[in-house]
């Protein structure tokens, strides 16, 4: 959290809205552990990471959507996933990422 706070503070000071993505669960080998965070601003700036770059693109889009809709959602990434969000992880692990607008 501490690594993404300075950027979030700057964005909010400029009046931008913010979404935060957090790794809430990992199974098997995952590039980043539980608690790893990425934040996105309404103008499209980004800080932090939730993987080794494998799923950041999809998570970025989900953050933008969360800012627009105001809705939080739990995303599931992994090899065994058939859903639209499946972008796959080279490491073969499974990661759950919670994406939420910073409205709390």
């Amino acid at each position: 959290m501490k690594d993404v706070l300075p950027a979030i503070e700057q964005w909010r000071a400029r009046g931008e809205r913010v979404a935060i993505a957090t790794v809430v669960k990992t199974l098997g080998s995952a590039p980043r552990g539980v608690g790893a965070k990425m934040a996105v601003s309404s103008s499209g700036a980004m800080v932090g990471s939730v993987s080794g770059g494998c799923i950041e693109g999809a998570v970025f889009d989900a953050c933008q959507e969360a800012i627009k809709t105001g809705k939080a959602q739990l995303l599931h990434f992994g090899v065994a996933d058939d859903e639209a969000w499946d972008v796959g992880l080279a490491c073969g692990g499974i990661i759950d990422v919670f994406v939420e607008p910073l409205e709390w």
Binding site: M1, K2, T22, K25, A72, L74, E100, W104
Partner: protein, 244 residues
């Protein structure tokens, strides 16, 4: 009134322990949050009082173990998944000896989230110019500073290889709950150090806690490279490994 975010940020800035609980799946309202702090009332609510109480109890226990994760609870609406993220205070690295190696070591330790405390009685070494990046710079003998300050969240690095400074520091650190204790010095220096400490009655099980010669074997040469080998060993210790 401060929002959950503002209170969380204030706790993190003040390095106070705090945990954030969020409903992430199940029968509850997704995204609902509450903030848990030791000895403070719960901030926010997850809905039912019984859920709040159970989550608060689990969060405090997880905070003491520096553990985060999803827990499942049963409410009148059905099962809910709550992500409990804990933010324990940062670990502290006590560096005894404001020598050249200590300068890059403070940089690396700070990058990895440690508070850094540099201790040296010699004012020529421990100058604010050399250690502007340290959280605390203390001009004193280590055995004056360390007593009472070492917890299981402390990492002690001795860089003086001078018995006058190292030995008194070790006599405080070795019986303490400190998570890691390492001392610089060649195998020969270390053998003599062990002899002195044994002669002074330091028990073997305490001596076995000492990482010396300090650092992982990566062929370090420059002060910066030695600092890398030390910080690598500290990271290993933080994760319960030896790195060897």
């Amino acid at each position: 009134m401060a929002t959950l975010y503002q209170t969380l940020k204030a706790c993190l800035d003040a390095e106070q322990p705090v945990a954030l609980a969020t409903i992430v799946d199940g029968a509850g309202q997704i995204g609902t949050k509450a903030l848990v702090r030791p000895n403070e009332a719960l901030l926010g609510t997850l809905g039912e009082p019984a859920l709040n109480e159970a989550v608060e109890r689990d969060a405090l226990a997880m905070l003491s173990r520096a553990e985060s994760g999803i827990r499942t609870y049963t409410t009148s609406e059905g099962e809910v998944q709550v992500f409990i993220e804990t933010f324990p205070p940062p670990p502290t690295m006590f560096i005894v000896g404001a020598v050249h190696i200590a300068i890059p070591l403070v940089t690396f330790a700070k990058t990895l989230g440690f508070r850094t405390v540099v201790i040296d009685a010699r004012s020529a070494f421990a100058t604010p110019e050399r250690f502007a990046h340290a959280d605390e710079l203390i001009h004193a003998w280590p055995d004056e500073v360390l007593p009472g300050r070492l917890t299981s969240n402390s990492f002690v690095v001795l860089l003086t290889h001078d018995p006058k400074l190292d030995d008194p520091a070790l006599k405080v650190a070795l019986p303490s709950p400190a998570r890691y204790i390492g001392a610089l010095g060649s195998p020969k220096t270390h053998a003599r150090r062990l002899e002195r400490l044994r002669a002074d009655g330091v028990p073997e099980e305490q001596l076995a806690r000492l990482h010396a010669p300090i650092g992982l074997k990566i062929g370090s040469d420059s002060p910066e490279e030695i600092a890398v080998s030390i910080i690598a060993e500290v990271v290993a210790a933080r994760h319960g490994l030896t790195g060897r």
